[in-house]
């Protein structure tokens, strides 16, 4: 019988399958184990069939999706690991603790592969902070949560992105990416492959915090979700730091067979997954598990998501050594069970079995075939009055929260700890970190919910394209991607259609660019229960690239007088879904087109220019169009420029479109080798043109019917002070 003490989210169909497959009535504890493990959050039961179309193999891929993190071989015996996690629901209820524990979780995903976390990125979405104090409160506390946790564990937060839109008012999105570095011969997997090995639970004790966090994440947030604070875990970064060092030392000592992070679904999920992947079984003794509260029952112990805990599988005979290493770091360790050959997860209390379930049954929830239905076509947006004050709009866009400098945020993140960060926040289109083999890794996360909302297929592909352009602009070749699809309730057929189309868009472009997906995540139920309003389709993409030589590392700021400014790629009249239209209050229409082949070739040509040493600065042209791109380069370089936009490659369009169109496949590059650059693009058959020169104290832009001069210091103030003025208006 399903007990009333546990809030079960299994469907009637699933309950029937469970009874059939087991051939008996599970007991209360067993129901709870299945419920946690079969939650959407842990099982991906709605999304598995869709996300399997993402390409996941390639030259550099050592381990693809399905493990705690993807593993990329970067040569010289080195590997990079990468994973993305979200903590949306917890952050909506407790922004500080939710964001902090989100980092804690993704760091463990990197650690349990035997690699050291070397970089964090965050991708955040909030409501309109110019209107909502609630969203301001969320932003401030999410940022503080990330800062306090990431800074304390000594992992730099090196890049990210933030988007503001009213659809996130009650459903903020908090995504964190972690990248790890390790040696190929020290790679660990979350597997218990050898019967007889011991299972250790290390780190924090098990308490009532985070009970049913996985099922909490697999539901829509309700008006009374504030009362679910007990479903949010408590962060403890110092313990995490000790766990990181102790686990890495144990791995180097060779005493471990496998390692598993305890996240969603707690011990129930962790134990059944290591046994299922290792094709073994596990016996676990409840009384060996250290508890924070002595009166916890078996269900609470098994599904608690208390933070800072890891499962280590110790090789037979290495138990003492492992315990000694943990003791050195003051990390508590308990031998809680043993690997068996039964292929069962058996829970014992006082030597007696109180629950026993097959691990492959537990770890593999039945896939749900969901129905997708295409929504009605977007109505076209209203007409623009051609007499808008374009000059003023440039300033307004620069100070709009989504475009404005995120300095207020990244100053709070220690982005240099570990002394690897070569391109720091604000300096380039992506973060660049140095590696021990004299090469560099480039990392960036991107999103654009407005265009994904107009067309999830082109929108999601465009997000991937933009992210790859960001990687290209710093001089790197993209080698892998992570995706995180965040949508509303999958029972809504239109939501599920959008999700399916977004994944298809990512998959199709990834294939065209020969870019494997090494991991990702799906997060549903991002919906406001009161208003029944889902968030806009919000896929977040992270791309990882490598830079071969220090000379190739390229930043975005204008550098020296007289350098030529080159516009690459054609500007088309594509303003639907743009920052410009959003500023005018115009929504709907069709997003900018995306030619997959052209996108790839444009990136290749830019990379060739950089590798040949032609580029002195490079910047992807995206949000806010050419106007914002040029302004950002001038602001970062504290040096002006004079450009004639009518000379840039373009289709027939109005001056507003020339300034603000968000057409894909475009860059701005500066050079002292104008002819070489133009010749390179010609050889790739990519449109490019010299549009002006760097220099002076102002940004001068010539259009077809107009001419603007912007004072550099005014642009600088609009761009760099905006967030601070919104968030801390009392400062000056």
């Amino acid at each position: 019988m399903i007990t009333s003490t546990i809030n079960c989210s299994l469907t009637p169909d699933e309950i029937q399958i469970i009874r059939q497959r087991l051939g008996r009535e599970p007991n209360e504890l067993e129901w709870a184990l299945i419920d946690a493990e079969w939650s959407e959050h842990c099982s991906y039961k709605s999304s598995k069939a869709i996300i399997s179309q993402l390409p996941s193999s390639g030259d550099h891929v050592l381990v693809g999706p399905g493990y705690d993190s993807g593993v990329i071989d970067i040569g010289d015996g080195l590997i990079l690991t990468a994973h993305i996690e979200s903590h949306n629901h917890p952050s909506a209820v407790d922004p500080y603790g939710g964001a902090a524990t989100g980092i804690g979780g993704v760091v463990r995903d990197i650690l349990c592969m035997g690699t050291r976390p070397i970089a964090l990125l965050d991708s955040l979405k909030f409501g309109d902070i110019t209107k909502s104090d609630h969203s301001k409160w969320l932003l401030k506390n999410v940022v503080r949560g990330i800062a306090d946790y990431g800074n304390c564990i000594g992992v730099p937060t090196v890049a990210g992105e933030i988007e503001f839109d009213e659809c996130y008012e009650r459903n903020c999105l908090v995504d964190v990416v972690c990248v790890g570095l390790g040696r190929k011969d020290e790679l660990l997997l979350a597997q218990a492959t050898k019967p007889g090995d011991s299972i250790f639970l290390i780190g924090g004790s098990t308490g009532r915090d985070g009970i049913q966090g996985a099922t909490f994440a697999s539901r829509v947030l309700a008006a009374d979700s504030d009362r679910e604070r007990s479903a949010v875990q408590i962060p403890d970064p110092f313990t995490k730091k000790m766990i990181i060092e102790a686990t890495l030392e144990a791995n180097r000592a060779g005493v471990m067979r496998g390692c598993k992070d305890l996240g969603g679904g707690g011990l129930a999920t962790g134990l059944s997954e290591i046994a299922d992947k290792g094709e073994t079984g596990v016996d676990v003794h409840l009384e060996m598990i250290p508890l924070r509260e002595p009166d916890m029952n078996a269900i609470e112990i098994m599904i608690s998501e208390s933070q800072e805990r890891m499962l280590l599988v110790a090789k037979t005979g290495s138990e003492r050594e492992l315990e000694a290493i943990m003791a050195k770091y003051g990390v508590s360790s308990s031998r809680i069970g043993k690997v068996t050959s039964t292929r069962m997860l058996t829970i014992l209390r006082a030597g007696k079995s109180i629950a026993q379930l097959p691990t492959d049954f537990l770890a593999n929830a039945p896939i749900i075939q969901r129905i997708a239905r295409e929504p009605k076509v977007n109505p076209p947006p209203g007409k623009v009055m051609r007499h808008e004050n374009l000059r003023q709009i440039v300033i307004s866009l620069l100070s709009s929260p989504t475009i404005a400098s995120k300095e207020w945020v990244y100053r709070q993140f220690d982005h240099e700890v570990g002394i690897r960060t070569v391109v720091k926040p604000g300096q380039g289109d992506a973060a660049v970190l140095r590696l021990p083999n004299q090469k560099f890794v480039a990392i960036k996360s991107d999103a654009n919910s407005r265009i994904c909302d107009l067309d999830p297929y082109i929108g999601a592909a465009s997000v991937l394209a933009e992210c790859c352009r960001n990687i290209t602009a710093v001089g790197a070749k993209a080698i892998a991607l992570l995706d995180h699809c965040q949508f509303g309730n999958p029972n809504d057929e239109e939501v599920f259609w959008s999700f399916s189309m977004a994944v298809k868009g990512i998959a199709d472009l990834a294939r065209a660019l020969h870019l494997p997906c090494v991991g990702g995540k799906v997060s549903f139920y991002n919906e406001d229960e009161e208003k029944h309003q889902a968030i806009k389709s919000s896929p977040v993409i992270t791309v990882i690239g490598t830079v071969e030589k220090p000379d190739h590392v390229t930043t975005l700021n204008f550098k020296h007088n007289q350098e030529t400014i080159i516009a690459i790629g054609k500007t088309k009249p594509e303003v639907h879904g743009s920052e410009y239209y959003c500023h005018l209050g115009l929504y709907g229409g069709t997003p900018p087109t995306l030619d997959f082949q052209l996108e790839g070739q444009t990136q290749n040509a830019v990379l060739e220019c950089i590798r040949n040493g032609y580029a002195t600065a490079c910047h992807d042209c995206a949000n806010g169009g050419l106007a914002v791109t040029l302004a950002e380069m001038a602001i970062a370089g504290r040096i002006g420029a004079t450009v004639d936009l009518t000379r840039s490659p373009m289709e027939s369009l109005g001056d507003d479109e020339l300034l603000f169109s968000e057409s894909n496949s475009r860059f701005i590059l500066t050079t002292r080798r104008r002819d070489d650059v133009l010749r390179t693009f010609q050889s790739f058959n990519i449109p490019a043109a010299a549009i002006g020169v760097v220099g002076g104290e102002s940004l001068n832009i010539t259009l077809q019917h107009d001419k603007f001069e912007f004072d550099l210091s005014k642009l600088h103030t609009a761009y760099t002070r905006s967030l601070e003025m919104i968030l801390e208006p009392w400062r000056k």
């Binding site: 800074n151 000594g154 313990t239 709070q412 993140f413 982005h415 240099e416 002394i419």
Partner: protein, 196 residues
Amino acid sequence: MKIEAKLVWHNEFKDVYDAVILPGGFSFGDHLRSGIIAAHSPAMEGVRKMAKEGKPVLGICNGFQILIESELLPGSLLRNSSLKFVCKWMDLQVDNVDTAFTCAFERGEKVRMPIAHNEGRFFAEDQLLNNLKVDDRVVMHYPNENPTGTSKGIASISNDEGNVVGMMSHPERASDDLLGGTDGLRVFGSMLEWMR
């Protein structure tokens, strides 16, 4: 620059070193107060002895906080006036070049190094501030922007003998052109020169 260096675990400190650097970080998670728990760790006995013997002792960031909590340096380091962590490259001016970690600089020289901390607002009563000035124990200060609201822009101080120095700036992060500059390298160069 070749210096034989060793990472030493806090309860395995031995009395065999020529100089010691307490690096940045969040010792004991900054629980209670930054640096206070580490100030009572076994290693600090050895550090205290080295300081007394005149050997170079440098505290960087959390290391500075530990030196203050250990009373090897005076004053206190309070929460930044912005109430926020700040990570930023700062302009610094070297005021005292008679220390183990600045003897390779010129007096009054302008340098750049990054800071990254939450509690770096040096605070001292007027009398102490005056003493620090008169005794020439302010090692560096922020000549332009004061990022934390620290008294008189103070970023680094030393003991009377100049062998114990605490600084909020991170010289190790400013030791490679790839990472933004090499002014910090000269802090370690100074240490070598001092020991010679």
